[in-house]
């Protein structure tokens, strides 16, 4: 079953001085199956971030549509957007985006509190997740007291605790050392195995290699995609690298 459909997405920015326009996305279409783990790769300026912002309903496309479970999220009214985001989307960011005035437990609770959830429910959900991610000992600490890897694990917990339809991850390994990166990618694989849909934007070939499918974006269009299928991580890694090299060379590469 398809959970996300992106159809003919176009985004044109007009600069403050009239006349100049920048096309960030020219024509992007793809879809994501329920339970899939998709990575989106592309160079800086290829439009990945714009795409993710639109998927996150933080930005509106110039044209085209984004369907989540068949509902067009670009048509959601401004006042309902936060609730929609809270209920359906989970976010993991490169710089964690944890609030330094909250301890880690409250950081994880934040989206639930905003949704007026009962404390008992929050507590039981947290207990389940905390066990899974082994962060029980950290819960009463503050963000500045823990490492980057731990912060990112907490951020993943925060994304998961609302039971979102899809997790949107923006360069989640970008600020992590290699061990923490591996750790995080394992976590993504684990939660993906439980049926969680994940959409990740990344620069890192290694991160992309852990996904079940990789989409390549170039100049605002989907340029190519690779299915992992039965490939091992290292085979996938090489394949992605080949694609990136050919993309950089500019030659037409089609499988």
């Amino acid at each position: 079953m398809e959970i996300l459909n992106v159809n003919n997405l176009k985004k044109v920015y007009s600069t403050r001085f009239q006349g100049n326009t920048v096309t960030a996305l020219s024509n992007v279409s793809f879809s994501v199956e329920d339970g899939e783990y998709v990575a989106i790769m592309g160079e800086s300026g290829s439009g990945k971030s714009t795409l993710l912002n639109i998927l996150a309903s933080l930005d509106k496309p110039t044209s085209g549509e984004v369907l989540l479970d068949g509902n067009n999220i670009t048509k959601i009214k401004e006042k309902d957007i936060s609730k929609f985001r809270r209920d359906n989307l989970g976010f993991v960011f490169q710089d964690f985006n944890l609030l330094d005035t909250f301890n880690l437990k409250d950081n994880i609770f934040l989206p639930l509190v905003l949704a007026n959830t009962k404390y008992e429910i929050m507590e039981s959900r947290l207990n389940k997740i905390a066990k899974q991610f082994e962060i029980h000992a950290l819960l009463n600490k503050y963000p500045y007291e823990v490492s980057g890897g731990e912060k990112q694990r907490v951020a993943v917990c925060r994304a998961l605790i609302t039971n979102p339809r899809i997790i949107l991850a923006d360069e989640p390994t970008g600020a992590l050392d290699s061990r923490s990166s591996d750790n995080l990618l394992n976590i993504f694989n684990d939660i993906n195995k439980t049926g969680q849909t994940i959409l990740m934007v990344t620069h890192s070939t290694k991160a992309a290699a852990s996904a079940s499918r990789v989409l390549f974006i170039k100049d605002g269009e989907v340029y190519h995609q690779i299915y992992k299928g039965a490939m091992s991580n290292s085979e996938m890694y090489e394949k992605i690298n080949d694609t990136l090299v050919s993309m950089a060379k500019g030659s037409d590469y089609h499988e």
Binding site: A56, L58, E78, K79, I81, S82, K83, R85, R86, F91, F93, N97, L98, L99, D100, T101, F102, N103, D106, F109, L110, P111, V113, L114, A115, N116, Y119, M122, Y142, P143, Y144, E145, R158
Partner: protein, 651 residues
Amino acid sequence: MNKFFYLKLAFLNIKSNRKIYVPYILSSIFVIMMFYIMSSITSSPITKNSVGSNELVVMLRYGEIIVGLFSIILIIYVNNFISKKRYKEFGLYNILGLDKKHIGLILFFETLIVALIALITGNILGVLFSKISELILSIILVISPQPGFYISYTSLIVSVVIFSVSFFLTFMMSLRKIHLAKPIELLNVNNMGEKEPKVKKVKLVIGLLSLISGYAMAVLIDDPTIAFVMFFVAVILVIIGTYFLFETGTIFILKMMKKNKKIYYDKNNFTMISGMLFRMKQNAAGLATICILSTCMLVAISTTVALYVGTKQGVNETNPHDVIINNYQPENNDYYDEAIAKVLKDNAINPTSYIDYDFFEFWATKHENKFGETTVDTENEIIRICGYTIDTYNQQMKTNYTLEDNEILFLSNLNEQYENVIVGDSTYVVKENITTAFDYDRLLRGYSNGAYLIVVSDEIQMLNVCNQLNELGIEEIENKIYLNTDASEIQINQLVSDIRDLKYDGVYFNLKIDELRSRYSLYGSMFFVGIFVGILFLMATVLIIYYKQVQEGYDDAQRFIIMQKVGMSKNEVKNTINKQVLMVFFLPIIVAIVHILFSYKMIYLILTMLNAAGDQVFMISIGVSISLFIVIYSIVYYVTSKIYYDIVSFK
């Protein structure tokens, strides 16, 4: 690189940091203007030529010193804030290759630009507005304004010197900080992780105790004299209490709220409580300062207004008569009554009331009902004894008593009653213990050891009492004339000088008009200084609040972006912001108002000692100044919360 480069850079810096520089420059201009006005008025002709100019000058001098000191502190405070805000910029310059020496140069030019603008504009505005202030002062003092335009060059020089020095001081302080810091520290100064504040129990207890004891003093003390002495103690206790409780009490309450899961994990409180916890840690001192400043301002304005407004009523109460002519030696002044009558007639003064009476007043000893002469080694308490004849009493009280030679009417201000009274060797039968009498206020009121009035049958008995109590027998019986009249000030002055020309010994005058003048001079100048300092305090409050908001806006911006990403709507962000800003804004004011309500009684007692008019005037002046303050404060709130929101939402 030439010097102009740095000058240009300095200009650009000020321009691009205008959100923090404009209020700084404006307030510097304002304080310089205020200082010049205060200083020039002190030495202006209007002050020198006015009645009671000594009190006036002393009062204004105090005002000048307060304004000056306060202005310097304010400039340093604001500059401190600004340089903190700009560390990052300087760190960047440093990394881009500018020497600390060159950064110092930029800083110097920046200070110079601000100082020049502030000094020139401030003093010019000061000169312009000093005339208006002079007019206001002359209205307050009820004197005719001086013609012409007065510029005090001394004041100009003093203000330029004082403020140049303080600007230079701010420059040195910023410079020192930059020299001490490493560039990377300058860059990261705003990003250090902060621990959640802890409740400091000792401070909490001390704060509570001092606040409670301060309040208790204010409420429990009933005696004006004690109130006057203890006022400062109470003030200091309350100040300590305010600072400590802002620091610990707020955090204590927030922590309690946080412990309660129902309250804490509520959408409406969640971000507010945690945000406030950190906010209070950083801002407790600032908010306490705002609280104290607003309290001082409200007290300064409302008391001086009450004193001033009450002046006339107070003088009318203590001086019910327009003119009092005292004659301490009536027996030496032949034809005194006729002479006075003639002078009155010559000056065409029609008395609306005219009381001419003889009386005596002594210090004496008293034991039960025995009154005796004061001696050096007396064991009995010294009391006051006064008296006049029954004719005077009947005339003024509209009664028809008749007294035998050995009979008296007796009145004690302590409500003592006797059947007979012994004065020296003479025993008098008390015909009646009366409860009130003519001239009671002047003769008996306020003598807490006891003051007694005996109304005797005639002048012979008055002399007898005098001789019994004062063997030397001099200056016994005195005479007073109480005169009320519609006559003008000039007529009254003429009357006084004509009577003086008669060259009687022991004749003195009390003129209501003199009393009024000197009170107006004293309370008017206090009023003027009070308003002046009040405005300055108000400006300081506004300024501190403004910079707090800006500072917090920058701190909170990142936080609110994250919250939006995690699913908080713009509206919810706005609500949270409003709630926090509202609390930070109005907490100090609410506490200030509570302070004032508690201090009400104590201040009122002190005011009664200074002869202010009644309760009502004071109550109204407090009410009006609080309301005015809230209105102005709300406007500032509205403006600054807008600026805060703009910063937070990156507009």
